[in-house]
Symmetry: C2
């Protein structure tokens, strides 16, 4: 920590002191408050606003896909949770259990939902009778609790987090397969691209890394500037395992009884952690403009003496920029430089600076948060310039992240030392892979990384050998360090 | 049960078999699914849609009032819950307790929030330092759990329910008082009037009936056609009790330390139960039009033989009525009469009936769900007629409920027999009242009713005597049977 510290600004370096930097950013920009319960955080208004906007954006797409919102109970009887073997094995170790109501002991323990398959599917069993009841497509926005014992981190790994979970049932495997992919690309990747300004690698998780109870899981993986990947969301094809366990069957067109084919898919408040890790810098928060509540902050350069004219102008401009929810920093006795730093810390996408001399010249200065570039524009043009500048910021954030992602991918299919070295250096290695749990373990041992996912539409050459097991490869896979 | 029963329709009478009627309506119109846990229900898509629209409508008003959304943790440490004496006394008997995470016993039990004062106010204590930090106004949309042992009923009394809870802190008592009233009138009563089509009596709860930990509670009370009142929502002034318990203090303009003055206010999914009880009838659900997902259902009168022209017309009309999210019932082999009954059961505000003969004449029949009145309109005028008809339905539902409410109020200030008789008959008695817990108990004993609330802006005549205690009255109050 060689640089000069300023307690009001960020005191740590993103690349070399990532954890402290992250904590400093989310605290000083008022995104999070802590509670007495480890891993349970308060989403303060600025982060809740982001989540509400992500929800609005996604909910519209979800509804257009014919998926209906519902609310299933928070509490799941233990006997439900244990019905599907793989599922309970995956989730039981981190379930928060309710044992008492008031002073009475409950006859059966209730799990706070870690995910809702086992409370939803008994209802699915009642609702689905005939092929005409299919597809059944529901979603809910809620929070879930997973009592993890690993180091909790706000947004990225919490014991309670908010998400949407979609649950769908189809008459055919083909319909389910298609939907799992459609959700991945046209809901999740699209949200990452259009709103979060985060490019992602889409693909299939390895068998070891799939969801507990799934036949396969698809994912979006983001790659952070610190050279680590993070799983951004997942879309699972559940096959017929849950349908069997919960008896979700229907009469097909030939009057024969069939089990449904199911998917479940979720995206959580983790995405807020992803955008902070991706876009923010040593000056503080950088918010993708489409998630910023106040897209513009106006800072008038107040001098000693009479500032009436400048303050009046600022208030008028703020009103004029209402559609961008502009705010103005009119505090007295605080230097413009301090206000600029604070605006950067809080991540307003555009800062408008205006002093009396500029005002007399009919000009203003616009400062972009992403690049900190300044441009002088005529007062008359400010309003019309802002939408373009906001789009530019979004596009620049995306392009920067995408350039980094693309330049980080190294293809190495055989040399294990080189693979290991590249992973250690913070690259993503595209390589061959024999898809089973043993290989995943081997990768963790031999490199400091893990498998991210298996890209679609890649052809494995004949005779390809998995560099980890030295056995015939089954897939091409991305390997990298992971957050 | 003298009338002929039809298993597909509602089998009970609203006035004489209210409980069975209610259960029949919410089940057959697909609003609710039950789970293995008593008192925990599934909000199916049709009821979730209503709640989502109520949320949209209210959230806009809440944000316009400068209240910001947040998410506080679901789980509250026991030591937080017990900090404010009155509060814990009120809620502890119905708390669901989490005692284990995975297989580990927790060091301290965690309550699933029954309401969030005791998890929010430690954060308020951190956030409020100076008068410039006030007012602090936050809200959250979430579910809460109250492990009641009384008879649970979907929407009306559940162990888990969804709500919004606003929590605000002010520098002065006056500001807090004004906000508590503003929320009651300009948020809650307005929502009841504008969206739910339910008139309400606004007023102050008796001391006995106020929120645990509040200085006073304001409420909206609805009066159901079955002659029973139901509390619709509450806005509490908390005084400084929580501020003291959680040390929420600030430096005022004179550098003196003061405690904040607080409010909390909530409206829950109970409102869905209220609108069902208020508007629905023996044919099924009647939804206030502003809460209906599909405002129009088109039922073509299909005949044996070729229906191509009629089906084409129906599909075209459905598209034309897209802004009303019109649906069409094109099922074959089902009689028009059956379809009409089903449309009534599900509560579509407007049904469009069209047969070939009408089509040739250029006419359609519109049937209003509230009155079942039919009008014939020219095909060209259908689209332009619908918005007015939807408003008419809303206004008619409101007027009907309001006429009933107004005609149910009886003023009787002294004759205890008459008060008791009127309450038993399903009237609301406006009377004098000595406001303390003993009187409330006496009212329960002497009548079959309870106090609803104390209307605002009423002047108690000098020398007024409480008919229950025969002591000097302190207030005018509404008394009625209550759901």
């Amino acid at each position: 920590m060689a640089k000069k510290h300023n307690k009001l600004g960020i005191e740590f370096d993103k690349q070399t002191e990532t954890n402290q930097w992250y904590t400093d950013v989310i605290n000083k920009s008022n995104l999070i408050e802590y509670t007495k319960v480890s891993g349970c955080y308060v989403l303060r208004p600025r982060s809740q606003f982001m989540w509400d906007r992500i929800r609005d954006y996604m909910d519209k797409i979800i509804r257009e896909k014919g998926v209906k919102n519902t609310s299933f109970p928070l509490l799941i009887p233990e006997s439900n949770l244990t019905k599907e073997e793989d599922h309970v094995e995956g989730f039981a170790p981190e379930v928060a259990w309710v044992t008492h109501g008031g002073s009475s002991k409950l006859a059966e323990r209730l799990a706070i939902r870690p995910t809702s398959e086992t409370i939803m599917y008994p209802a699915f069993s009642k609702w689905v009778r005939s092929y005409t009841d299919l597809p059944l497509k529901i979603n809910q926005w809620c929070s879930v609790v997973r009592w993890e014992f690993k180091n909790p981190t706000p947004f990225l790994r919490g014991r309670e987090f908010h998400w949407q979970e979609g649950h769908t049932a189809f008459a055919t495997r083909k319909d389910a397969d298609e939907e799992a992919m459609d959700i991945l690309i046209n809901l999740y990747k699209k949200t990452y691209d259009d709103i979060l300004a985060v490019p992602t690698l889409v693909g299939k998780k390895s068998d070891k890394e799939k969801f507990a109870g799934a036949e396969y899981s698809l994912s979006c993986e983001a790659f952070l500037p610190i050279g680590k990947a993070i799983q951004g969301c997942t879309s699972h094809h559940l096959g017929q395992g849950f349908a069997k366990a919960f008896d979700i069957s229907f009469q097909d067109q030939n009057q024969e009884t069939q089990l449904v084919h199911q998917n479940s898919w979720g995206l959580s408040t983790r995405v807020i952690g992803v955008i902070i890790m991706m876009h923010s810098d040593n000056k503080g928060l950088v918010i993708p403009p489409r998630l910023a509540e106040n897209k513009v902050i106006i800072v008038p350069i107040l001098k000693k003496g009479d500032n009436t004219e400048l303050i009046e102008f600022t208030n008028k401009l703020k009103l004029d920029l209402k559609e961008f929810d502009a705010v103005a920093d009119l505090r007295e006795g605080i230097s413009p430089g301090f206000k600029f730093s604070e605006a950067e810390l809080h991540g307003y996408p555009i800062r408008v600076e205006v002093g009396m001399r500029e005002l007399e010249e009919g000009n203003l200065t616009l400062v972009r948060r992403d690049t900190l570039e300044k441009v002088t524009v005529s007062i008359d043009d400010v309003k019309s310039n802002i939408p373009t500048m906001l789009d530019d910021i979004h596009n620049n954030l995306y392009a920067k992240a995408n350039d980094f992602l693309k330049s980080s991918i190294v293809e190495e299919y055989s040399d294990l030392d080189k693979i290991s070295e590249c992973v250690k250096e913070g690259k993503i290695v595209k390589t061959y892979f024999k898809n089973n749990a043993a290989t995943d373990e081997l990768i963790k041992d031999l490199t400091t990384g893990k498998t991210l996912n298996i890209p679609f539409d890649e052809t494995l050459p004949e005779g390809a050998i998995c560099p980890f097991t030295k056995e015939p490869a089954t897939d091409i896979v991305y390997v990298a360090r992971s957050l």
